[in-house]
Structures are given as C-alpha cells and as structure tokens.
Symmetry: C2
Subunit: 225 residues, 2 copies
C-alpha cells in the first residue's frame, strides 16, 4: 500500500474513473490542492491494486476511444475506510523554498531587501490566483463537494488569506531600513560578513589562501539542547 494508493481509491470512491480522469480531476479539482499524481505512478498502481483485489477494471466504450474504468471492490471500500480511520501523519516540515530562503537570507544576500520584495510580490500574485481559483471551484456547477471537502477547502482558503496578510506586513516592514538580528549572542552576523569577505578576498577576487583550514580557527559552538 503506497502513499498514492489511498488517493487513487478515494478518487474511484467518488465515481468509477479512468486513470486519465484521476489525473485531470487532481489537476483541476479540490483534492489536487493536497496531492498530485503523474501517469507514471497512476497506471502501474491501477494494475497493482487490481491484482491485489482492491479494484476491478472494465472497458467502457468512449465512442471508439478505449477507456478503462475502475471500481472499488468490498476490499477496496474497506481499505479506504481503514485508511481514513488511521490518525493522519503530522505534516512536517512545511517544505517551502521562500521560507527556506528567508532563513538563509542574511548569510547569503545581507541586506538585499529589493530582491526579497520581488520574491514576495511574485508569491502574492501566485497565492492570489490560487485563492481565486479555489473560491470559484465550489461554484462551478459540476464538481461533487461534500460538507467535508468544503471543510478542507476552508482550510486552504484560511491558510492563503493568512499568507497574503503576512506578505503585506512583510513588504511594509522591508520598505523600512534593516533592523539588525533578532537574537545573536555569539556575534554571528559580524562573523558571517568577515568570513564571506575573507573567502572572496579583499579586492573582490577569490582568494585561494582563504580556503586553507587554519584560517577557520574561529570555531563556533553548535547548539545543544
């Protein structure tokens, strides 16, 4: 039972679907906010799930074009119900390049606030678009949306709205002058600038001697809880 399997079973549970249907549904629909599948993982799993008795597959006529539909067996319905009953794993960490870049920003770019504002404005644009798409989806007159899907949708909406507020506040803050570190008992901010300058060399050219071991004598105690 791979992690994609419950998604496949869940999609089929809504209606007997083809592999292609599932891909499209996830791209355009609600569950796609929380998972994505590629054909390369869908089709092999459909075969496996059929071999293991979770689904049955049958050809459906699609005016000449071949089309394989899949339906859950009793075992498949049971597996889905069991998976839903299992306590969901806590999503950790929140993989997000923007946040990761923020964590390392000072070390790598110092007080280059302009580039960071550009990143944030791009993100604002993307999140706004996603929010609009997501608000339109339950009103498209087509998709099946249960009370529970709507709750999931509410989560995504709430999260995006909070993100947009954070972006506004952050851009405002970045338009003011830099504030200096929030906490820096070991004076790392200063040391980072010095180490970078040493690596590049005083005249701006790379300095090969700055790469020998002995120069790194300013060892920093790592954090131990």
């Amino acid at each position: 039972m791979l992690s994609v399997d419950p998604v496949i079973l869940g999609m089929i549970a809504m209606y007997p679907a083809s592999g292609y249907d599932m891909k499209i549904e996830l791209e355009k629909g609600g569950a796609g906010m929380f998972s994505a599948l590629t054909f390369g993982s869908i089709y092999p799993r459909l075969s496996a799930l059929e071999n293991e008795g979770y689904i049955v597959s049958f050809a459906a006529d699609n005016q000449g074009r071949r089309r394989m539909l899949h339906e859950l067996t009793a075992k498949g319905w049971q597996a889905l119900a069991d998976w839903l009953t299992e306590p969901p794993a806590y999503p950790l960490p929140m993989r997000d390049e923007l946040l990761l870049k923020l964590s390392f920003w000072y070390s790598g770019r110092g007080d280059d606030r302009a580039t960071l504002i550009a990143h944030l404005e791009r993100r604002r644009q993307q999140s706004r678009e996603l929010l609009h798409y997501l608000e339109a989806w339950p009103k498209n007159g087509f998709s099946y949306i249960s009370e529970y899907s709507m709750i999931a949708l509410n989560y995504a909406r709430t999260r995006l709205e909070a993100e947009l507020r954070w972006i506004e506040e952050t851009i405002t803050q970045l338009e003011f002058p830099p504030k200096g570190p929030e906490q820096d008992p070991r004076g790392l901010a200063q040391r980072i600038r010095e180490r970078r300058a040493a690596a590049y060399g005083v005249a701006g050219q790379p300095d090969p001697t700055a790469q020998r071991g002995d120069e790194h004598s300013t060892a920093v105690e790592p954090y131990r809880a």
Copy 2:
C-alpha cells in the same frame, strides 16, 4: 546541484559546521521548520560539494572525538547568493494527510463525525506544541536569528494560529448534525452510498457478483473544464 545542497550551503554560511551539527540544527532550529535532512543525504553531499569546490573541509579537534568542519569557498558563497536570488518555486500542492482525508471523508466514512473530531483534536494538540516550541526558539539565548529568519518564523506562527482557529471552528461545526453536500449536481452522494452497499452486498457480506463490469453501467461524466 541537488535540492538539499542550498540547505547545506546555507547552514555552513551561518558558521563552519559538521554534518552532525546540520542535522541537529535542522531538528531543533528554525530552518528545520522548512526542511529536514538525514545523515544519508548530508554526508554524501558534503563529499560531493567539496569535490566540486563549493566547500572546504578540515578536521577540528573535539577532545579526541573526530569532527569534520566545513567552510564555504568563494564559489560556495556565490552559489548560495545565486540560489537566493532565483525566484522560489511555488509550493504546490500542500501535502497534508488530514486535508486529503477530509476530501475523501464522505466517500469512505459517510457521516462518521466522531473519528474526524478525534483526528482534529490530535492535530490541534500537535500544532499547539509546535507553536509553543516555535515561540520559545527566538528566546533561547543561543540561536542566531536575523531579521529575515524572524520573518520566516512569523510566517510559521501566523499559519499555525490560522490553523488552530480553523480547527476550533470545524470541531464546533462537526458537533452539529451533518449538512449534506455543498455542491452535487450529478447526485453522487446518493450513488456513492448505493455503490458501496452493492460492493459489500445487502447482508453485509462481500458480494462477488457486484464486482462484474456490467453492473457499473451508471457511468459518470468526468469533469472537463
């Protein structure tokens, strides 16, 4: 340049660190909110990054215990700065089992609201703990936290607070009776119950005949935008 590489370079940029340091720092520190690394990916990449000239490694005496520290070269500092300048990829989709389960909840568990409330209460507990940990971190008197790391931390805090509010609202809603689907123009809610009943069989035992292709004649039009 693998996706873990900028994280390694970013950690080293803060202070010359060992592979072990990075693992611990990510587990206990701020960047760990947004990325995790295992030894199996750290050590091989440290060798590779040294071979490619991004870092230099040197033995540091750690009272008898061996310890390899790593420092950025000019090329390494430059690679980090370049990576930070690149527009960050939009994090899509938000992989979250709880949300995925909500999407499929009705199909698999019908109106079993008790189990769902249990999931939400568990999540509330975990998110509260993370929030408390995360609020304590910038006051531990040790970690280096730049203005920008603090902004990332603010994001995580904002997001968790929004999530906790959503959990409260959702639990309250789930204590009321079920509402029925938000949007269901094809009558799928009804069909799902019928299909599940057919798969299990009327008497509760699995019905093998319900698994033949012909019975699935109630084909549902897939969504096409």
